[in-house]
């Protein structure tokens, strides 16, 4: 009996290890950091350099493209066409750029134009191309206690001023992400220094921030895609939209291997990144981007605008 038990436990363990290894090569989004670190240590040099040129690229992007479901929609098409696997590491824009600087990514898809241009100027990126844009919205409680929807349906600056004057709960991403930077730039535009008990800095992703806003029944600035994806679970409505200050441009930047030492350089999949770049700027991918969301939400979530 005991031997049987021992045997079955060892088989179970072995099985778990096998399954674990297999899952590792897939899109394990749960622990993106670990995976990347692993890749960049030993095996990458031998394997990816020889056998699988173009076999796998690391796309470092923002949580919004991942959470909105866009990447799940367009990437399979690319992967099938070129046989190149795209490993998505979804983090804040700050971290995405840092990954680029550390040589941990092959290509970036982010949305903070100033930081991106700086990144290219520093030599880490080859160039930056417009891919698409989406827009941000101010969401808040369904009963809209400050009546912003009536007073400022298209004026985000007026809306934010009213929130600050009334010291009404506002939840900020507070995580140095593209959305956070965007929010801060709008506060700046409105000439307000947001601080105080009413201004909550969540330090979390968009989904978490929407949940916190819902719990606290405050206001927040969200990207449209994440909000639409979650709106059924939230007691929040769109309060202000359509202001030009709320538009948000995404750019794609292939990493420049020349910026790194030789050992890091060898790990960057330049060729795969170039193929991906050409593809996402092509008519085919642009069309895919433009149609995502129409079926589910009745409106596109991203507007393609590659030149």
């Amino acid at each position: 009996m005991k031997r049987f038990l021992a045997l079955s436990i060892s088989i179970l363990l072995l099985f778990t290890i096998l399954v674990g290894c297999k899952a590792d090569s897939g899109q394990d989004v749960g622990e993106p950091e670990e995976e990347v670190v692993e890749e960049s240590t030993e095996p990458a040099e031998e394997e990816t350099a020889e056998d699988e040129v173009g076999g796998r690229i690391i796309l470092s992007t923002t949580t919004s493209t991942q959470d909105s479901g866009l990447l799940d929609y367009i990437l399979p098409v690319f992967e099938e066409k070129y046989g190149i696997e795209v490993d998505v590491v979804a983090v804040g824009t700050g971290k995405a750029l840092q990954m680029g600087r550390d040589g941990d990514a092959d290509i970036l898809l982010v949305h903070a134009k100033e930081s991106e241009e700086e990144f290219v100027a520093e030599g880490y990126g080859k160039a930056r191309f417009d891919v698409m844009y989406n827009d941000f919205i101010l969401v808040g409680p369904k009963d809209d206690p400050l009546k912003l929807k009536e007073k400022f349906p298209k004026d985000i600056l007026g809306g934010l001023k009213t929130i600050a004057e009334n010291e009404f709960t506002f939840v900020s991403r507070g995580d140095d992400s593209g959305t956070h930077k965007k929010e801060l730039s709008i506060w700046k535009e409105a000439q307000i220094e947001p601080a105080g008990d009413w201004y909550l800095e969540a330090g979390s992703g968009m989904g978490d921030v929407l949940k916190i806003t819902d719990e606290k029944q405050g206001y927040t600035i969200s990207d449209r895609a994440t909000y639409l994806n979650m709106r059924d679970e939230l007691d929040l409505d769109i309060i202000i939209e359509g202001d030009e200050n709320l538009f948000n441009q995404y750019g794609i930047i292939p990493i420049n291997p020349e910026a790194f030492d030789d050992d890091v350089k060898g790990r960057i999949n330049e060729e795969g990144a170039q193929i991906f770049l050409d593809w996402i700027l092509s008519d085919e991918a642009q069309e895919l981007i433009g149609e995502y969301g129409v079926e589910e939400f009745g409106m596109p979530l991203f507007v393609p605008n590659a030149k």
Binding site: V91, G92, G174, L200, E201, G203, S204, K211, D214
Partner: protein, 229 residues
């Protein structure tokens, strides 16, 4: 590689200069985890000793379930507490989600099975003798529990510290129910996790060092104490 060294340098600077934000985070961490450990200990130590000494039907099955629940993943505890405390949840009226109180609740639930299990096993294995002596001297049920606690205080203390270590080092539960809100519900582990996703290493390293240092101090104290015994 430079950024790692740079991170350490900045980290030490933050610690030495008594950066308010860093120390607020450390204080909240200690407060939440200590409170949770104390609440769980007050309930679980007497209960664990009682259950360990008592013979009842299904004790074997109870042991197994208890030992299994000792390793309940913190994210699951976090999820359950978050669902319960959510505005639409059964306890939504309390308005507790995303507050330190919610974090204490979650961590209390997290370490409860741990302390209960460890105490239970301790009293099952070593409590019988004490019980015998106690009974022969005419002690009642309550006296025996008090006596057992006194006799086993060092082992119990080690258990409590183990539970505290688990509480202060977990990130899943406090992240979910606390929301990692600046100046309110941000603790060491959630900050490290967030700073990493922001690509900002100095504060993450500083807090990591503090966490390691705390574990070291606590464990050293325990070992010195038990060594003298």
């Amino acid at each position: 590689m430079d950024y790692i060294l740079e991170g350490f340098r900045e980290a030490l600077k933050l610690l030495i200069s008594f950066d308010k934000e860093v120390y607020d985070i450390i204080t909240l961490s200690l407060f939440v985890s200590t409170t949770a450990t104390i609440i769980a200990s007050l309930i679980c130590i007497p209960l664990g000793i009682h259950l360990g000494l008592k013979e009842f039907k299904g004790k074997r099955a109870f042991s197994r379930i208890l030992y299994t629940s000792m390793s309940v993943p913190s994210v699951i505890v976090g999820l359950v507490v978050a669902i319960a405390l959510s505005r639409r949840g059964p306890l939504g009226g309390l308005n507790l989600l995303y507050t330190p109180k919610a974090m204490i609740i979650a961590q209390t639930l997290l370490v409860t099975p741990l302390i209960l299990g460890l105490t239970y096993s301790l009293s099952k294995n070593r409590g019988k003798e004490i019980e015998k002596v106690g009974t022969s001297l005419g002690a009642g049920r309550g006296d025996i529990i008090v006596l057992t606690i006194k006799e086993l205080k060092l082992d119990l203390l080690v258990n409590v510290v183990t539970a505290f270590s688990r509480a202060i080092s977990e990130v899943g539960a406090v992240m979910i129910v606390g929301g990692n809100i600046k100046n309110r519900t941000r603790v060491i582990t959630t900050t490290i996790s967030m700073m990493n996703s922001m690509g900002d290493y100095p504060m993450a390293i500083a807090l990591g060092l503090v966490l390691l240092l705390m574990s070291f101090v606590i464990n050293s104290l325990i070992y010195t104490y038990s060594g003298e015994d």
